[in-house]
């Protein structure tokens, strides 16, 4: 059991009548990147606030590196690095002052731990004398990450670090995370972007305060229970409503310029779908066998939960 870094069992949290966490359990191994994937309102922030000892659970247990989130909160805080979803550094302090402040409260030696943040901090070092409030979004993010790392935490918890961030910056942020992982830091990260799931070692798909599925991205994708086809088209909406009327179809959804359709029975194959489309005059559109992605799985789990 020594390889488990973060552990949660039956965690429940309610805000009045709102059930933010409905008894979730999970475990994160040492040194892995574990992603909590889900939309706003899934319970990701509540979970992270419990794990960082900022919020008490109504029921259930959780520990980080063997320290209990309630009983051992004082010690736990010294081994955690936390980057909340909202920029929460001191806007009136400069870049440098923020870093010194965070190093100071953790009694950390900046020069000793500088190697951890070097690659990130070097990019904002030219603005060391600028107030944090005056930085661009990308630079704020790099400063927040530097401050969360400067005491050399064993576990880094990042709440939606890439929300509202453009596709290029998102990619760069993930490259940074993967380099941090190689330093041996366990990383918990939450995101509403389904495409980031495959960058994690393991993930939990979350919705409405529950974990719908967890495992490696490959495990989740290969457990997709239907045969899946994709059709490339320029006439998305027309084709979508046509396919949804076909017998033997389980679901059809837009995926960029493709439509993904899953079939409900073994009799409905590529031939049958192709013929159905030709009968309605769609001759250019050819169904092909497709591998389900995390987003296909997420949608399928959501539908399962709605009907079940």
């Amino acid at each position: 059991m020594t390889d488990i870094s973060v552990y949660g069992e039956g965690l429940v949290k309610n805000y009045g009548k709102t059930e933010a966490l409905r008894g979730i359990s999970f475990s994160v191994n040492k040194g892995e990147i574990f992603g909590f994937i889900g939309p706003d309102g899934a319970g990701k922030t509540t979970l992270f606030r419990i794990l960082t000892t900022l919020l008490l659970p109504d029921a259930g247990d959780a520990s980080v590196e063997g320290f209990h989130v309630v009983k051992d909160f004082r010690h736990l805080r010294t081994i955690l690095g936390y980057m909340p979803g909202r920029f929460s550094l001191y806007q009136d302090l400069t870049v440098e002052e923020n870093l010194k402040f965070f190093a100071g409260i953790f009694k950390a030696d900046i020069s000793k731990n500088y190697h951890l943040i070097k690659e990130i901090y070097d990019q904002i070092a030219p603005f060391a004398k600028r107030r944090a409030g005056k930085l661009s979004g990308g630079m704020k993010q790099k400063l927040a990450l530097s401050c969360a790392l400067i005491h050399k935490p064993e576990v880094l918890i990042l709440d939606e670090p890439t929300t509202g961030v453009d596709a290029v910056s998102r990619r760069e942020f993930w490259e940074m995370l993967i380099r941090l992982k190689s330093q041996g830091i366990t990383i918990l990260v939450s995101t509403p972007y389904m495409d980031e799931a495959i960058l994690c070692d393991r993930v939990a798909l979350m919705q409405h305060g529950s974990i719908m599925a967890s495992g490696t991205p490959d495990e989740i994708m290969s457990s997709y229970p239907h045969r899946l086809f994709k059709i490339s088209t320029d006439r998305t909406l027309e084709l979508l409503s046509l396919i949804r009327k076909m017998n033997g179809i389980h679901s059809a959804e837009m995926f960029g310029s493709d439509i993904h359709l899953s079939v409900a029975d073994a009799e409905t194959g590529i031939e049958e779908v192709g013929e159905y489309l030709r009968n309605y005059g769609f001759t250019a559109e050819k169904p092909e066998e497709a591998k389900p992605g995390i987003e296909d799985c997420f949608i399928d789990f959501m539908k399962l939960n709605q009907t079940g």
Binding site: G38, P39, D40, G41, S136, G137, G138, E160, T163, G164, V165, D166, A167, V168, S169, R170, R171, P192, Y193, M194, Q207, D234, T236, L237, E253, M254, F255, G256, S257, E295, F298, I299, M302, K303
Partner: protein, 245 residues
């Protein structure tokens, strides 16, 4: 579309803040009923351009009309012809659904009868008539998102500006939201939309990509993918935006 009726025309739009050029000679036109994707990295100048097009900020120079109105002199007329929805919900959370429609309908100067009619139509489309007296804060996020959009187009504007309308939304709601966008466009409402989801760029009729204050590319998704030899819009975006300084 194709009849060349333009609802947005921008010629050499420039906006400077001191010596910083936020928008550098933007020239583009948007057709009536078009879904126009306005993409770019953070800080590329999208928000500045949108604020100018909404009549909230004066450009430094350039000839720009929105819904046939001049962005320098007719900003009040522009505001009546457009709808706007931002990434954060624009509804009043402690009012009911009905009250939100009444409030926004009132702002746009709609008659009581028209407001009632539109409210009923919108709620029927979303299948949530039974919730009309519910407080917005009590509703699931997915419903709130779709309601915000309905409120933004209740006065049948010529153009609706959507600023990252699907941020943080679950994948099913995200798709339902795009079906609403298609329906609005089919009714002739022009949709001007920003997003960080590159699969959504594929749903637009045309897409412009801003890099460092300039429009680096503007075409249909298919043509952009051909031109940049990319298999999807994500690759197109990366190829263009990674060049940025």
């Amino acid at each position: 579309m194709g009849n060349n009726e333009y609802v947005i025309e921008a010629e050499n739009l420039v906006k400077k803040f001191g010596s910083f050029v936020a928008n550098d000679n933007l020239t583009f036109k948007v057709e009536k009923g078009e879904i126009f994707g306005f993409l770019g990295a953070n800080g590329a100048g999208k928000t500045t351009a949108i604020r100018i097009l909404c009549g909230l900020l004066l450009p430094t120079s350039g000839k720009i009309t929105v819904a046939g109105q001049n962005v320098y002199t007719q900003t009040e007329a522009i505001k009546k012809q457009i709808g706007y929805m931002s990434q954060r919900f624009s509804l009043y959370e402690d009012l009911t659904i009905n009250e939100n429609f009444r409030f926004y309908g009132g702002i746009y100067g709609m008659s009581r009868i028209k407001i009632k009619e539109k409210t009923a139509e919108m709620l029927d489309r979303l299948g949530i008539e039974s919730l009309k007296n519910s407080i917005v804060a009590s509703l699931p996020l997915g419903i709130r998102q779709k309601l915000s959009f309905s409120v933004a187009i209740m006065h049948s504007p010529q153009i609706v500006f959507l600023d990252e309308p699907t941020g943080g939304v679950d994948p099913i709601t995200r798709r339902q939201f795009w079906e609403l966008i298609y329906e609005a466009a089919a009714k002739g409402i022009t949709v001007f939309v920003t997003t960080h989801y590159m699969d959504e760029a594929e749903y637009c009729n045309r897409v412009s990509i801003m890099v460092d204050g300039r429009i680096e590319a503007l075409d249909t998704p298919r043509n952009l993918k051909d031109k940049f030899q990319a298999k999807n819009m994500d690759e197109v975006f990366l190829k263009l935006a990674r060049k940025a300084g």
